[in-house]
């Protein structure tokens, strides 16, 4: 990157309030126009992958919630799934339903936070408080069930920590959420300021999104029907249709997340039906002190709120992984900013960046 006399080099972050954690974007500006963007990641690096090489599987399990602290369930599920599949453990119907219900609740809480934070980035303050209020209901439920608000440590190899309780709380949450979503939509969706800041901004063409390995809601908001949940074994008996929108811009990504919450509510309802029918937990728990994955390589993926997440483990037959790698959606979204922000104006940069729903612990790991 050469800086000429007429261009300005600007550091956005790492302490900018709307960089969601600690992201530094090195922008080269010509007036207000962005000529180049260079994301500088690593401020939140905790060595999650290297750490695994020195820990047994049961020791590693509680720490994976911290890869994405807004949606910890997804990463526990991935690690549990890898061990379960490697050791040939089958999950009972009830355990599967519990997992689906909690994953989707977790997804809703993550999307709710995103809606608030995104609107806050654009300068609207009230929706932030409203979404936080609803998210709080979900977090309190998680606290009641698992003991903590964000670091659940609830899914374990072969099942769940204990049987699900307080189902009426979930019912209450999914009953009031649709009204609240309507409230948000009344404030946000057709607001002229919001529209002018998001409509037509940060357009991602489908083929470019695919070439840049963008997944999740960001991809579906560009009109590509790709949702890992469609082939996921947990979701096998569930009916749902991926949310696909063709607008491709920041507004589409907002709308897609609202619709996705509604889709999640449907999934939770189906899971609750199963929970009511299937009363026996039937866990196949294994002794955590003796877990050893057979020699070989393992790969599993899941649809996390910020795109496809996957895990790769190479095992040499010991009680610790030989090598472990996470794939997270946000990492690719941040990388994509290099080309996405070029040609846009500085005041749109945050709107576009915010619309991708990036969370930095997931990027830095």
């Amino acid at each position: 990157m050469t800086i000429t006399a007429t261009t300005l080099k600007l550091n956005l972050g790492p302490q900018h309030p709307s960089t969601h954690g600690v992201l530094r974007l090195i922008l080269e500006l010509d007036g207000e126009k962005i000529l180049s963007c260079e994301p500088d990641v690593g401020y939140l690096h905790r060595g999650m992958e290297k750490m695994a090489e020195n820990m047994t599987y049961i020791q590693y399990l509680p720490t994976v919630d911290r890869i994405d602290y807004l949606a910890g369930c997804f990463y526990s599920e991935l690690l549990c799934r890898t061990v379960e599949k490697a050791l040939g453990i089958e999950l009972s119907l009830r355990v599967k339903a519990i997992r689906v219900a909690l994953l989707e609740l977790n997804r809703i809480s993550s999307h709710l936070l995103w809606i608030g934070a995104f609107l806050m980035d654009l300068g609207a303050v009230s929706p932030f408080f409203y979404t936080m209020r609803e998210r709080e209901l979900i977090l309190r439920y998680f606290e009641k069930l698992t003991g903590q608000r964000m670091m659940y440590n609830y899914f374990i190899f072969g099942g769940v920590r204990k049987d699900i309780e307080h189902i009426d709380d979930i019912e209450e949450i999914i009953k009031i959420l649709p009204e609240k979503l309507d409230d948000y939509e009344k404030i946000i969706t057709n607001n002229p300021i919001f529209l002018s800041r998001t409509k037509g901004k940060g357009i991602i063409e489908p083929h470019i999104a695919i070439n840049n390995a963008i997944t999740g809601v960001n991809l579906r908001a560009s009109g590509v029907n790709y949702d890992v949940r469609s082939n996921d074994y947990l979701y096998k008996n569930f009916e749902f249709s991926p949310v696909v929108i063709n607008e491709k811009d920041a507004w589409a990504r907002y709308k897609a997340r609202i619709l996705e919450i509604k889709e999640s509510i449907k999934l939770i309802k189906q899971a609750l039906e199963i929970l009511k029918k299937e009363q026996s937990l039937n866990q196949n728990l294994i002794n955590p002190l003796t877990i050893k994955l057979p020699d070989g390589e393992y790969y599993h993926e899941i649809e996390a709120p910020r795109g496809m997440a996957s895990i790769y483990i190479k095992s040499t037959g010991l009680d610790k992984p030989y090598r472990l790698k996470w794939r997270t959606g946000s990492y690719y979204s941040v990388n994509f900013l290099r080309s996405l922000l070029v040609g846009e104006y500085l005041n749109d940069a945050i709107a576009i960046f915010g619309s991708l729903d990036v969370i930095l612990p997931e990027v830095d790991k």
């Binding site: 047994t56 009230s126 209020r133 069930l145 003991g147 670091m151």
Partner: protein, 124 residues
């Protein structure tokens, strides 16, 4: 124009709702039974027998204990500088000797206070 009025109306509606926040620290909210806060351990005949499982499942290496010549645990320490409150020790202790309590206000000026030491004999 209509959308602005509709939005404003929704915001104004919220003016007449009950507040959802609490004046911490004067008022504290209900803490669930399951909450994982400051850890306690019971030492003695009906408590810890020094099997070492908690040490093996702890991701943060936060647990240390000392045994006497008869393998009886005489001192047990949680290092809260390292502990991540995951609860593994509580979940896997075969004697049910560990309990993570509802106490969460653990900030202190003295670093030594974060080394929670429990000795046998009394329930300190």
């Amino acid at each position: 124009m209509f959308s602005i009025i509709e939005g404003l109306f929704t915001v104004i509606k919220h003016l007449f709702m009950k507040p959802t926040t609490l004046e911490y620290p004067e008022k504290k909210r209900y803490q669930s039974e399951m909450f994982r806060g400051k850890p306690y351990v019971k030492i003695g005949n009906d408590g810890c027998v020094g099997c070492g499982i908690c040490k093996k499942v702890c991701p943060a290496k936060a647990i240390e204990y000392i045994q006497d010549n008869n393998k009886k645990v005489i001192s047990y320490t949680f290092n809260l500088e390292k502990c991540i409150f995951c609860g593994n020790c509580m979940y896997y202790c075969p004697r049910g000797a560990i309990k993570l309590s509802q106490e969460f206000e653990l900030a202190t000026e003295q670093k030594e206070e974060l080394k929670l030491n429990y000795k046998g004999g009394c329930d300190d």
